[in-house]
């Protein structure tokens, strides 16, 4: 089994976030970064499958120099090598454009499984995994709570999390792309030995010039208009009229607010 795990580096949970001058995103100065939480579970799931079936786990990350730390964390835990897609032209693009770059690299690598975290803790789009599946021309499953490789490593059975405590089991052929939900396993700690060994593992750097994507395809189709902190406000409205009239008005209002 060859499993490619896509990891993203996101601001740490306890980072103090400040909005940048153009209100387009947060200031990235002085911020500590961590591996996106569901991505850590994806790494663990890949390592567990490798332990059972053998093969290779490759960590792939797109972003500036600093994301090497996220790749190395995966290598320290036992992944075999890393791919770092690093080009300023690819930063700050939307999920589709970034997935195009990743899909080309991953497609050339070849794979049995591509794992992504369900969504990133920063943008929270939850798109990269499914777009990757589409671009790579393989079936996708999202919100995976269990992954079982079956059928002589020809198919995979995935437990998907639905609403209200419901789950769905879904079987699909390999190769496939799966986005992993947090909590499906217990991510291991990087051992000190693993950390020191990671130094010796290969991290291949890929820049835009190594890819054959036309510039037109890297124009974002989606843009963040404005980032702002939610304004805390409290408004009380007294609804007049008899009980019956007031109740009818209340229902109308709630419907307008889509609370009903």
């Amino acid at each position: 089994m060859k499993i490619i795990v896509c990891v993203k580096q996101v601001p740490s949970r306890d980072a103090i976030l400040r909005i940048n001058e153009t209100s387009s995103w947060i200031q990235d100065r002085d911020i500590a970064y961590d591996v996106n939480e569901p991505d850590s579970y994806a790494v663990e799931e890949a390592l567990k499958i490798k332990e059972k079936f053998g093969g290779e786990v490759v960590i792939c990350s797109l972003g500036p120099e600093r994301v090497q730390v996220a790749i190395k964390e995966g290598l320290a835990k036992g992944a075999d090598r890393g791919i770092h897609i690093c080009d300023p032209a690819l930063d700050n693009l939307d999920a589709l454009a970034q997935a195009r770059a990743m899909a080309e690299v991953i497609g050339k690598e070849g794979f049995d499984l591509v794992f992504t975290g369900l969504q990133s803790d920063d943008y929270g789009f939850a798109q990269t995994g499914v777009i990757l599946g589409e671009l790579l021309g393989v079936p996708s499953a999202t919100i995976a709570m269990a992954v079982e490789v079956q059928d002589g490593e020809k198919s995979v059975r995935v437990k998907r999390e639905l609403e209200a405590g419901w789950f769905q089991w879904y079987q699909m052929p390999l190769p496939a792309s799966i986005s992993i939900q947090s909590g499906l396993n217990q991510p291991r700690y990087a051992t000190l030995k693993g950390i020191m060994n990671a130094k010796k593992k290969e991290i291949r750097k890929v820049t835009l010039s190594d890819l054959s994507i036309s510039k037109d395809l890297l124009v974002p189709k989606q843009k963040i208009e404005r980032v702002y902190f939610p304004v805390k406000s409290k408004k009380t409205e007294i609804i007049d009229g008899s009980a019956k009239e007031a109740a009818a008005k209340l229902v109308t209002k709630l419907k307008q607010m889509r609370a009903l």
């Binding site: 103090i16 090497q68 730390v69 190395k72 990087a190 051992t191 000190l192």
Partner: protein, 596 residues
């Protein structure tokens, strides 16, 4: 790993900071940690947060099985084997890594941190550095995993600081195969569950020697658990040796050379304790800030009041001083050990011993910083700080032991100038020449100080002058008492106080200057504030400490000359420390943690 970020490869002489001016590029700072060092710190932090911290009350309730299983679990991650050479199935990492593990284990609480340190440090080091090939092969791989857990047994009921006055005796058996040991060792950390004890006994009643003892050897037993003020979850018992039969192969080091083991091991334990104190202080600050933000009085969070702001900021400022000095020392040791073979025990010990002055300074200065932080933490919590239901009380109690073990702070204080003078007499350090030059300067007309510019130029001058205070006081003491200085405990302790201030203030200064060189002044704003406050206050403390020392050393015209010189060396325009602390505290309450 650390050498690449330090400018010079030459080995810096221990204690030379007092007579030489160092450049920022010459010191190692926390900003220089490599990716691997940062990753090791993260694993330690994650392990503590995930496995130990949630169990801390269970550990405090003396659940020994849990403590032992957590120690072994930490071994699975490599957290017991970083100091053990690779040849013996350890990781053989550098000292900066050991310090980072110690620092990041501290938030687990005193009980776990002390148990872990007792095993990985003083319990294991004697075998690493003094063991025979066979002893290392036999014990180290098992100590690396935690299959065997270790303890260090030096103190006896009647010999604490005076360790060499131990009464435990060892006599060779008639068949020459065993040493028969008799005696009692006291306050032995990990004794309740340790499998291996490194202990000391006098062969034939006079030759102080080291031994490796296993719990299962005939005649070896442990007493009941002590009821302690703090670190209650750690195991502390006596080790009883009643005709204990120890195979001759388990003699550690040479007969009559036990003192080398005992003192070198404590020496290393001391500098690591400094790092533990930094970690403990950071954890305490986090809790204190969270509480101060949450607790409202007079309709405001108490963190918005000046009284609390000054406390929070001062915790961080003092921690910055210790942290800077601790990692500078680790960097010095790693630099000295670069290229020394993992099997060259004498070479390794020489490298570490070179910085014995700095190690003792870190122990004393670090433990007193943590005690200050713990005390202020209780105060921030107010009444809740006095309740065992809240975390401050345990931090306060746990912190107290640090000033007692690994050599009391008094013993360590006396070691600092003692070792310095010894180095000077051996000609290893040009201290006396520096003193002579200073004395000449004192008697000549004072030169006008040149105005300097650059980042922290004023503070740099203050550090330079503070070193002159050390030379003046230590020089007068050496002149007056010559070889008998070791009897003058009050003077030695006072001189040590000034030396420690100098080391910490210079370390903070150089670290901040190095940071500014790399990142510019704009992003160093609060570091600059912390450094200025720290040095401003340290110089004031030095002046107060030095006055009575001079009065005890010289009189008449000489006293007047030296007091005038002291005034000149400590003169500075007071910095607006109140405002600086307000700014630092504001950043701490916003981020919820130590900010550097």
């Amino acid at each position: 790993m650390s050498k690449t970020v330090m400018a010079k490869a030459k080995i810096v002489k221990g204690g030379s900071f007092l007579i030489e001016e160092k450049k920022p590029s010459e010191i190692f700072t926390p900003e220089d940690f490599s990716e691997e060092q940062r990753a090791i710190a993260k694993t330690t932090r994650d392990f503590v947060a995930g496995e130990v911290y949630p169990n801390r009350s269970e550990i405090e309730n003396k659940n020994k099985e849990l403590l032992v299983s957590l120690l072994r679990k930490s071994g699975e991650l490599g957290l017991l084997s970083f100091d053990i050479p690779e040849k013996y199935e350890g990781l053989g990492l550098d000292k900066v890594c050991s310090m980072l593990v110690a620092e990041n284990l501290a938030p687990a609480g005193g009980s776990f941190a002390v148990s872990h340190g007792g095993h990985t440090g003083i319990g294991t080091w004697p075998i690493i550095y003094f063991g025979t090939e066979a002893q290392k092969k036999h014990y180290l791989p098992k100590l690396a995993t935690g299959e065997l857990l270790a303890a260090y047994a030096l103190t006896e009921p009647h010999s604490g600081s005076d360790a060499l006055a131990a009464k435990t005796r060892a006599v060779l058996s008639e068949d020459g195969k065993h040493y028969i040991l008799n005696g009692t060792k006291m306050w032995i950390t990990n004794a309740g569950f340790a499998d291996v004890f490194v202990t000391f006994a006098k062969v034939d009643g006079d030759k102080f020697s080291g031994f490796i003892i296993e719990k299962t050897f005939p005649g070896v037993s442990t007493g009941g658990e002590e009821h302690k003020m703090g670190i209650r979850g750690s195991s502390t018992c006596t080790l009883e040796l009643n005709d204990a039969k120890v195979p001759v192969e388990n003699l550690l080091g040479e007969i009559g050379k036990g003192h080398l083991i005992a003192f070198n091991v404590l020496n290393m334990g001391r500098f690591k304790l400094g790092a533990g104190c930094v970690g403990g202080a950071k954890a305490a600050m986090k809790e204190a800030i969270a509480y101060a933000n949450e607790r409202h009085q007079f309709n405001r969070p108490i963190s918005s009041f000046g009284a609390i702001k000054q406390k929070l900021a001062e915790m961080a400022i003092r921690c910055y001083g210790v942290e800077s000095a601790v990692y500078r020392t680790a960097g010095l040791i790693d630099q000295a050990l670069e290229g020394v073979d993992a099997d060259d025990n004498a070479g390794i010990l020489k490298g570490i011993e070179e910085y014995a002055i700095e190690c003792s300074a870190m122990k004393v200065y670090g433990t007193e910083m943590l005690d200050f932080v713990a005390d202020e933490m209780v105060q921030v919590y107010g009444g809740y700080g006095y309740s065992e239901e809240y975390p401050a009380a345990a931090v306060y109690r746990d912190s107290r032991i640090n000033r007692i073990f690994e050599g009391t702070n008094e013993i360590n204080r006396m070691l600092i100038p003692g070792m310095l003078l010894k180095k000077a007499m051996k000609g290893e350090l040009a201290l006396m020449q520096a003193v002579k030059q200073l004395m000449e300067e004192l008697l000549s007309f004072p030169s006008m100080d040149d105005e300097e510019d650059g980042v922290l130029a004023e503070e740099q001058k203050m550090v330079r002058n503070a070193k002159k205070v050390v030379l003046m006081v230590a020089g007068s003491a050496a002149q007056k008492y010559m070889q008998n200085i070791s009897d003058q405990q009050e003077l030695l302790m006072g001189i040590a106080d000034i030396i420690m201030e100098v080391y910490a203030m210079e370390s903070a200064l150089l670290r901040t200057q190095k940071f500014v060189e790399a990142n510019g002044e704009a992003s160093a704003e609060l570091r600059l504030e912390a450094t200025k406050v720290f040095i401003n206050d340290a110089v004031d403390r030095i002046e107060i400490k030095a006055r009575p020392l001079l009065a005890a050393l010289v009189e008449g015209d000489m006293l007047r000359t030296q007091i005038a010189a002291l005034k000149r060396f400590t003169r500075h325009t007071p910095y607006n420390c109140i405002q600086a602390r307000q700014r630092i505290a504001a950043a701490m309450t916003e981020t919820g943690k130590y900010i550097f």
